[in-house]
Amino acid sequence: MIEIQDVTYRYDENQIDLALNHVSLDIREGEFTVILGHNGSGKSTIAKHLNAILLPSGGKVLVDGMDTMEEERLYELRQKVGMVFQNPDNQIVATIVEEDAAFGPENLGVPPQEIRERVDFALKAVGMYEKRNEAPHNLSGGQKQRIAIAGIIAMMPRYLVLDEPTAMLDPKGRREVMKTLRYLNKEHGMTIVLITHYMEEAAQADRVVVMDHGQVIIDDAPSMTFANVALLKSVGLDVPQVTDLMFRLRQSGVYLRHDLLTIDECEQELEKRLREIKEG
């Protein structure tokens, strides 16, 4: 469990607004948490506190009981809490897919044979094993982002934190990444913290945390969060029409897939459901 206890943070002394304003939050094991919030609401700042890129100005962050302030255990901490960023191009270090996946374990001093096993496992987990000998620059954005995820998985973390990993991807790439994350969460019990601007992605989480001005204003199940359209609007978040429609239909008991991102897909899904209902 990651415990964020009354954390405040300011980027520089003269800043009046706190980037984090007394945030308390627990990340529980096995949970898929999405963090939403308008630009500048403090999402990235909180993510960077989870693996000691930033250290709290006030309060405490405990990862499995280990204080992130403990400098001697920094590598242990970063191995436990893996982090993926927005631009896959700026995270991939090596020129061959499998060598990039090996980068983390190599830094940790894992024996070569075990690195091999971990790399194979990680690449299979993100569905990129077939591309292990290719050059990353020949792959699509979604594939590159999955390699970045594999690079973290190979370090065998307990927590996977992703800061807008789908922001630069096309709908297909976004779907690939979301599928990978759901798979890791369901099949491998990976704890996931996903920061995103896409409501469709938030709808697939176990829990949605909404931030505004450095504070947590909602921390609830997606269904409860999205029911609060007025509050979401007041902090500059919009429930997209497609999500809204699908969400309301699902609420009223119509069985619909919840991983649809585009209008076309939703149209098809609705058509299919209508036909099924008509045929009885």
């Binding site: 693996n51 890129i53 590598y75 970063r78 191995q79 893996g82 982090m83 960023f85 631009n87 191009d89 700026n90 995270q91 991939i92 270090v93 090596a94 020129t95 061959i96 499998e98 060598e99 090996a102 980068f103 983390g104 374990p105 190599e106 830094n107 940790l108 001093g109 894992v110 024996p111 070569p112 690195i115 091999r116 790399v119 050059a135 990353p136 620059h137 970045a148 690079g151 973290i152 370090m155």
Partner: protein
Amino acid sequence: MLTDITLGQYLPGETVIHKLDPRTKILLTIAYIMALFFVNTIAGFALCAVFMGCILKISGIPLKFIIKSIKPLWIFVIFTAIINIFMTDGKIVFQIWVIKATWEGIYLAVIMSLRLIFLVMGTSILTYTTSPIVLTDGIEHLLGPFRKIKVPAHEIAMMMTIAIRFIPTIIEETDKLMKAQSARGADFESGNLMARAKAMVPILVPLFVSAFRRADELALAMECRCYHGGDQRTKMKQLHMQGRDTGAFFIAAVSITLLIGIRYLPGLI
């Protein structure tokens, strides 16, 4: 356009030469370069040509690629040739005012040019048959022992890897920027040198800004992956010398002995 550029000049292949350990290839290339400085007869270069021919044949590199790599040399060849022909004392072939060409000079010019050509040929066989990343790995291993005297072997290799990794990314970005500027009416193709250089400014500025941003983000991502230099670092892929490496060393030893030997056996010619 720009995106057609291939990475380095590596020609993938499955030949023995391709499969040799990079350390073997680097060491033998260095030995070959040193041996070249002992070769100073036409017979010696003929022997060299035979060796190179054999290696080319085995490695399956088309001759035209080698010619391509030698082409840019002509300016150096002409330059050294002129200096040698006119600056060497000896039997005069012809004389214009105080400038005189000598037989000895011509001979030296030919030798120097051949030496330069064979040198580039040898190193380009190395880069044609070894992928940049494997080459980097080899360099890191070879420099390993020098870490004791503070040679940052791992750091040098890491820098090279990152540079190689980002070349295609930056090229792609340049291409995008050029297209974006062309759409706004920028002209990169015509005009004099000044005009063209000026047209590049709106490309270079954003390119630099973005390169710095990339460096920043990459550094952060590497830190998150526990990167802390070469200490206590392991490698997934270990380099292993094979039987073929021993064979290559043996063949090279014989060839180099021959190359150097021919210099001291003028009677053979």
